[in-house]
Amino acid sequence: MRYINPRLRGAVLKRLEALGHGIFYLILRIAGQPGAYALLVPVVLIYVISGRRIHQLTSPYLQRRFPKHNLVERWRDTFRIVHSFGQILVDRAWLGLNISARLHCSLDGWNTILGLIEQRKGLVLLTAHVGNWQVALAHLKDLPVPVHALMHYKEEVVAKHYFDLRGESCPFRIIKTDGFLGGVVEATAAIQRGEVVTIMGDRLAGGPNATVKFLDSQVRFPAGVYRLAAATGAPIAVLLAAKTGRQSYHLRVWDVFHPSYHNRKHREEDLTAWTSRFSKALEAYVTQFPYQWYNFYDFWNQ
């Protein structure tokens, strides 16, 4: 087998990736969102047929979500999940290129959120890396109180990039989780002022966690935020977005709960019970929208 210098290979792949992005942007300008969607089909098909890595990245989820699927069905599932993710990326670029472009949103439970805010106990909004989650975050600008997002560096870059593309100001203030005590001091103070704190409840990036069942396997989820709600008396709402059509999406409150604190002795079991509640909401989401799960890594080993 012919030896290829890894640095040269990396440089070529980088150029090809940039070329790919360039072609998509060109098609978006010429043929709009439908044109880019049409291009997406053969691109994803070639990617899924020729690449082994994407199957490795999606299989931990697909094996658990569709345990009875055979090899052919698994390939189809991989195509669908990558295609769905591609559409989200196309939408993001399309919204960035066209300031007047809009996605139509149907809301389910928004009044519940407003009602919880009115109680002045603060609110913890849990989201996850599913559906078009950045679009969901954009809706936070409509809330009547300041919103704070607990984010680590990578999430912050992605979220800011989305709003920069749109030329919109970020609808929330970012509390960095890599700061002192994971940003809990600022988050607690915000809740005490009756404000909203939002966090992606699925990906673990250090800090307190709890192991619960998700799609019939044990997985670690971040858990510090439940303690924040319990100590301050703030309710928790699980808010997840799903793409429902070419230019539409659905934003729904999947669950609302009020964690209450017992004492340090019961801390672990309390955290597990509350995390389980989020896991169940997420399970209900992927049951309805199985191809909008975008954690492309071994989630059960996080």
Binding site: L181, V185, E186, P208, G224, R264
Partner: protein
Amino acid sequence: MDQLKQQLKEMIVQDLNLPDVKPEDMDDKAPLFEEGLGLDSLDAVELVVLMQKRFGVQIADMDEGKEAFASIDALARFVKAQQGNTSKSIGTSVSAT
């Protein structure tokens, strides 16, 4: 100041439920988190809430948190300073009326 420190120690031991720690054994200069008393970020949430409830002081951001949670000494200084600020502002508003 010593009385305030004692109150803070008792609050930490009782409300954070630390059965293996006695208030009198706590070092005034030892860090509260990690290598010192061994509190973690979950305890920090509780502590921020307790400081508001018991002493009426709010720890609003990371810088204040870092300063206040450095030790029992630092926490007592922080409470004193915050309470001083509050009574000053109350005094100002009373004299203005």
